[in-house]
């Protein structure tokens, strides 16, 4: 059991009890808010379908492997293990895809290998960029995302560049 296992149930109970204490009509208010959640889900579904299909096509086509080969020389420049390149390329698109890639890397090289650690650090220090952008902006019906993608990708690139260096410096190769 970890501390993180407590957070969600305690928050759930805590908010409801706090509501009772403050004399909020907890049941109708909760249902009201819940109904909004239902509407939001329906609104983001189209964007979700489009994004998942695009990513699925890309994964199935072997484009990720091709790009990995192309980018391998760049990796050595920043001390990044090329085995983890798939992680870098998939992480911004798909959370479950990134977990699958991690499973592969950890199974092949070991969880405590350099590649295994770098992959885990990447998994823990970045998010599914494109999923977030698609869902957030489609929920408020925004089509022109302006500089959201370049700004978010700057963060992902930074993580990629420093990840190998930081892991090597702190935990060794």
């Amino acid at each position: 059991m970890q501390i993180t296992d407590f957070i969600v149930p305690v928050l759930f109970a805590g908010i409801l009890i706090f509501g009772f204490a403050k004399r909020v009509e907890v049941f109708p208010v909760f249902c009201d808010g819940s109904a909004e959640g239902l509407k939001t889900t329906a609104e983001i579904l189209p964007a979700l379908i489009l994004l998942l299909i695009s990513v699925g096509m890309l994964q199935a086509s072997g484009a990720v492997e091709l790009l990995t080969q192309l980018l391998t020389p760049l990796c050595s420049a920043v001390g990044f293990p090329p085995e983890c390149m798939q992680m870098v390329l998939l992480r911004p698109f798909s959370g479950s895809g990134a977990i699958a890639v991690y499973d592969g890397i950890a199974a092949e090289y070991g969880a405590d290998s350099f590649a295994g650690r770098v992959a885990a650090v990447l998994l823990g220090s970045s998010e599914t960029t494109f999923y977030t952008i698609a869902v957030y902006f489609s929920a408020v019906k925004i089509r022109k995302t302006r500089y959201a993608v370049p700004a978010a990708l700057t963060a992902d690139c930074t993580a990629w560049i420093v990840c190998g260096l930081v892991v090597a410096a702190i935990m060794g190769n």
Binding site: G62, R117, I142
Partner: protein, 212 residues
């Protein structure tokens, strides 16, 4: 975003032809369409749960109290939002969920925050030009970018996966995760601020030219 959505399928088809995996690409289209619905249904329950809880927390005044704590930092990042206003409160809730690593809870809260920003900016924000509808505002982009960079303090998923693969001490990556997160977060904020500044200048120049 729309450029990326146009490039990906084309790239996938070309790669599929090169690697001879076009049949897989074709079946991926149908499989993933179904998967998206499954994901949306999973998300729907969590979305309803957190939207409901947030409404209770809001009515009880808990949201206001928390946003009071975070607002000094948050108001540095977001321009021209009303202090203690709904948008500010929702942003604080979303960022707290991110920091706590509540995973799926962050999405509903983030969407509520996006809506609140839109509501506040589309009408009555003094000082900030209200963007034509359909276009993202600087504050919306800042919120999204903060959500794409990881604010999570405890990388629970990564640690759990490491444990599953027999790592000796699954949490020993913590310092590395923090440092990498800090770098990428700093890069995200700087990039958003810089690109926002450039885009505002360009817009100003363009409207200035129209006046002449």
């Amino acid at each position: 975003m729309k450029i990326i959505l146009a490039v990906i399928p084309v790239a996938a088809i070309i790669c599929g032809i090169i690697t001879g995996r076009l049949p897989e690409v074709s079946s991926a289209v149908l499989d993933k369409a179904g998967e998206a619905v499954t994901l949306a249904i999973t998300l729907c329950g969590i979305m309803c749960l957190w939207s409901g809880l947030m409404k209770v927390a809001e009515e009880a005044g808990a949201v206001k109290a928390l946003s009071g704590l975070l607002s000094p930092v948050v108001s540095l990042l977001f321009r021209g939002l009303e202090k203690g206003g709904r948008a500010m409160q929702m942003i604080c809730m979303n960022l707290s969920a991110n920091i706590l690593g509540l995973g799926n809870a962050t999405t509903p809260l983030g969407i509520r925050a996006m809506e609140a920003i839109q509501e506040e900016e589309a009408g009555y924000v003094p000082g900030v030009e209200s963007p034509p509808s359909g276009e993202a505002s600087d504050n919306m982009i800042m919120l999204t970018v903060l959500n794409t960079a990881s604010l999570q303090v405890i990388p629970a998923t990564a640690a759990a996966l490491r444990a599953a693969h027999g790592a000796e001490r699954p949490m020993d990556i913590l310092p590395c995760v923090w440092i990498v997160s800090a770098y990428s977060l700093a890069a995200a904020v700087c990039a958003a601020k810089l690109l926002g500044w450039i885009s505002r200048r360009r817009k100003k120049r363009r409207s200035g030219g129209a006046d002449n």
